[in-house]
């Protein structure tokens, strides 16, 4: 049973990691690509970490919960990274696909220096 759960988690994790990279690879502009890694990888890495947690908790006599910490780190840092990368992209006025919808008072955002 555990084995199956582990296998599933590992596969899920690897799959979502891959999806993140596929997104990064094939999405048409930077802002859209940003969604791939920052999201799919959180679950991707998350699932693999859970697998690891389970595996080591059961293969050794003690619980192995420290993997939570990696997740915690990622949950704090990944959005900050994304935020800063997006901010930088906005600042250097990187091109976006033409069909990007714009809603709200956006003209000031186009000027990178607010």
């Amino acid at each position: 049973m555990l084995d199956w759960i582990l296998a599933a988690l590992v596969l899920i994790g690897a799959f979502f990691t891959l999806v993140g990279s596929i997104g990064l690879y094939k999405l048409p502009d930077f802002y859209m690509r940003l969604h791939g890694p920052t999201k799919a990888t959180t679950l991707g890495v998350g699932a693999i970490l859970i697998a690891s947690m389970l595996y080591f908790s059961f293969s050794t006599d003690a619980a192995s919960l420290h993997e939570i910490l990696v997740t915690l780190f990622l949950f704090i840092t990944a959005p900050v990274s994304a935020h800063l990368m997006a901010k930088a992209a906005l600042h250097v006025n990187i091109q976006q696909v033409a069909r990007t919808q714009r809603y709200g008072d956006l003209h000031q955002w186009d000027k990178p220096s607010e």
Binding site: F15, F16, V19, I22, G23, K26, L27, P28, D29, Y31, M32, L34, H35, G36, T38, K39, A40, T42, L43, A62, A63, S64, L65, H66, I68, L69, L72, F75, I76, A78, P79, V80, A82, H83, A86, K87, A89, L90, Q96, V97, R99, T100, Q101, R102, Y103, G104, D105, L106, Q108, W109, E114
Partner: protein, 168 residues
């Protein structure tokens, strides 16, 4: 006097608890030695780094916070699948968007956590914060109804966060 001493020694009790837990997590243990060592560190580190925390963090409603965390986790899982489908599908059909979210939440930590949550839940990334810290620029991978999305964010994330982190 005594209270003053405690606030100096324990500037951030929540942080102390979190760090203590983290220490135990890191060491994968509940051995007595580590409990003691973790406690020492959990007191010492906030004490030494208190200068880096300009404002007090006061969690008003722990239960709300807990419920919020569960919701976010759930949303992450669900949205991950949606986004996966979007990514793997025809990207030409995607309707990306930039939109503004007017912020009601005012504490810097609250704003940051909201931005974080938006970025963590798949499909949206918070890209910028206005200079007056009143508006958040969000990019969405695929939205049909932008006002709906804004409303969703405000209701589902901003409201609980606002409740938890209010300036004291």
């Amino acid at each position: 006097m005594l209270k003053n001493f405690y606030t100096r020694l324990l500037p951030h009790p929540v942080l102390t608890v979190i760090l203590w837990l983290i220490w135990l997590l890191l060491n994968n243990t509940v051995a007595a030695g580590h409990i003691l060592l973790g406690l020492i560190l959990a007191i010492l580190i906030p004490f030494l780094t208190s200068a880096f925390w300009p404002e007090k963090v006061r969690i008003q409603s722990p239960l709300t916070l807990f419920r919020f965390l569960v919701i976010v986790l759930w949303d992450i899982v669900i949205a991950n699948m949606i986004v996966a489908k979007l990514i793997l599908g025809r990207n030409d059909d995607l309707k990306p968007a930039f939109f503004d979210v007017e912020l009601d939440i005012q504490t810097p930590l609250g704003v940051s956590l909201l931005a974080n949550t938006i970025s963590l839940t798949p499909g949206t990334v918070s890209c910028d914060l206005s200079a007056d810290h009143r508006r958040l620029l969000v990019h969405a991978l695929h939205v049909e109804d932008i006002p709906g999305a804004i409303k969703h964010i405000k209701q589902r994330y901003e409201t609980p966060l606002k409740k938890v982190f209010t300036a004291c």
